[in-house]
């Protein structure tokens, strides 16, 4: 309910687009890249394709880096990115950026883990493998199984910059290639600690506060929880009609409802 109210508040400035705006359009749209966007966009795509059978939209993962690379090469129509592309990427691919949501990145543990808060120093020590056992955090002795994302992941880059303050990530950390795989790994490992998009967090994993601030939508919205990033759709050059309509739909009131349903904050700029 809170999420819905927040979404409605956020969407005051959003346009009044709907799936009806796709009327008269046809063709296909290929989207790939960031994995945090997928669940939310799948619902939007389902809504569009259910009403407009002559429109085909596909979505794939691969990570933000792959998405940026593919859209720049013209392999796909739109890329999903969980980070703002670098200046050289924008220049090289003539990228146009369309932010439609804000997402937080949370530290996640297995629900059996009793930890509820970690300080920045503790996080830095855990992720650099200076702390390797939960005993050092005042808990029962058990190894800390560290999970991180691959080097091209936007989730990892934003987490490293904003939560770890650019401190080292240990080479012994297990590297997972998508948000969904990260959730599965954390869910199955009682000693796990990892990073996950807030939009992916549910009862199967447990989010912990950083310096006493819980990674909730409200805290991301009021900027008290700072480990957050924009979710972007990128096109190479100005987007064509179908791609533009899709972007507008995600940034509309109807799109904002979907965005907020999946744990993100809807924005239109």
């Amino acid at each position: 309910m809170k999420k819905l109210l927040l979404a409605l508040l956020c969407s005051v400035s959003l346009s009044f687009g709907s799936v009806e705006s796709f009327s008269g359009l046809e063709g296909s749209l290929n989207i790939a890249g960031g994995t945090a966007h997928i669940k939310c966009e799948k619902e939007a795509i389902k809504n569009i394709m259910r009403k407009h059978s002559n429109i085909s939209i596909t979505i794939a993962g691969g990570g933000s880096g792959i998405g940026i690379k593919q859209v720049s090469s013209g392999l796909i129509n739109l890329a999903n990115s969980g980070r703002k592309p670098t200046d050289s990427e924008i220049k090289k691919g003539d990228l146009k950026l369309f932010r439609f949501a804000v997402d937080g990145i949370g530290i996640v543990l297995n629900p059996k883990n009793p930890i509820s808060n970690l300080t920045t120093k503790q996080l830095q020590d855990i992720f650099s493998a200076k702390i390797v056992n939960y005993k050092e955090l005042g808990l029962k002795s058990a190894p800390i199984n560290l999970y991180t994302r691959d080097e091209s992941s936007a989730t990892r880059k934003v987490f490293w910059k904003k939560a770890l303050k650019k401190s080292d990530i240990a080479k012994s950390a297990r590297v997972i290639s998508s948000n969904a795989a990260m959730k599965t790994a954390i869910k199955n490992d009682p000693n796990a600690i990892g990073i996950l998009s807030l939009g992916m967090i549910d009862d199967s994993v447990k989010a912990v506060s950083i310096n006493g601030i819980y990674p909730s939508l409200e805290n991301v919205k009021n900027s008290s929880y700072t480990v957050a990033r924009g979710l972007y759709l990128l096109s190479s050059g100005e987007p064509k009609v179908l791609a533009k309509t899709y972007i507008d739909y995600l940034r509309s009131i109807e799109g904002a409802k979907i965005v907020s349903k999946y744990g993100f904050i809807a924005v239109d700029k």
């Binding site: 990570g63 080097e151 290639s177």
Partner: protein, 277 residues
């Protein structure tokens, strides 16, 4: 006339495919040579991969690839030999049919299904005994061995049956039991084919990506135990591929690809050099 056209077409397609593979091989080699002008070769032939420090050593990945492949190969050999011996020696038609169909079914299962199933079975099982080990070299090797069983078993079965068809009746008439015939004649005469089967399975193990990517943990540290996580060359390529085209990390994966392709060429050359009777 039709046969001639058909055989010429086959030759054309074979030459084209071979030419394509060799072109890829030489292209990779050329890119690698170019790579060595940008950074010293010792940088790449080290055990340290750290992009922030401009270290692009791929030997840790090479070592992990070798460990996982050989561990999987040992397990596969044991499983395959047991399965094939049972099929060859058993008198139960139901058991033979069951084992044969199981091996055939295994060959049709996509690698991702093996990896996905292992995430919910083998991974929690091993971590319940050793909590620090979840995604590890051991898990990846076990699951990879399941993938290799059909490749090795079908080659073994094929040669066992060929030899049996030719010599079983003669040997039986000479008074050999089925077990004697299998262990003293078939194995003795099939060892070169067995080696070929093992090498073919090894080349498949080295080239697999999905299982190691999902199950080995992909840690960049040098593994000192089979319970540790590790990253193979194929996983490394898959994970680094998303980097910027201009980055040195992206360029360095061409060396990984060159090593992979070279190792496969080498294994195929070994298979070809083994003279089978």
């Amino acid at each position: 006339m039709i046969n001639k056209i058909f055989s010429k077409s086959l030759l054309l397609f074979t030459s084209f495919s071979s030419g394509l593979v060799f072109s890829i091989f030489f292209l990779l080699g050329y890119i690698c040579l170019d790579l060595f002008t940008l950074l010293d070769i010792s940088n790449f032939l080290s055990f340290d991969w750290d992009v922030q420090k401009d270290h692009y050593g791929i030997l840790t990945m090479l070592f992990t690839t070798i460990v996982i492949s050989f561990l999987a190969l040992i397990l596969t050999f044991i499983f395959s030999f047991c399965i094939c011996s049972t099929i060859f020696l058993s008198k139960s038609k139901i058991l033979i049919l069951f084992l044969e169909k199981t091996v055939l079914l295994m060959s049709a299962i996509p690698t991702i299904i093996y990896a996905f199933a292992a995430l919910f079975t083998i991974v929690p099982f091993i971590s319940s005994y050793k909590p620090s080990s979840t995604l590890s070299i051991l898990v990846a090797s076990i699951v990879l061995s399941l993938l290799l069983i059909p490749t090795m078993s079908l080659i073994f079965l094929n040669i066992f049956r060929t030899l049996a068809k030719k010599y079983q009746r003669v040997c039986m008439n000479l008074g050999l039991s089925a077990e004697d015939f299998f262990f003293k004649f078939v194995i003795k005469n099939a060892y070169k084919n067995i080696i070929q089967g093992v090498i073919l399975a090894l080349s498949r193990a080295i080239g697999d990506t999905m299982i190691v990517l999902m199950l080995a943990g992909n840690a960049l540290s040098f593994p000192i135990s089979v319970f540790d996580s590790g990253r193979t060359l194929t996983s490394h390529i898959a994970l680094i591929f998303a980097n910027d085209y201009d980055s040195m990390a992206f360029k360095a994966i061409f060396l990984c690809a060159f090593l992979l392709l070279s190792s496969n060429f080498l294994l195929i050359m070994i298979i070809k050099s083994i003279k089978v009777k």
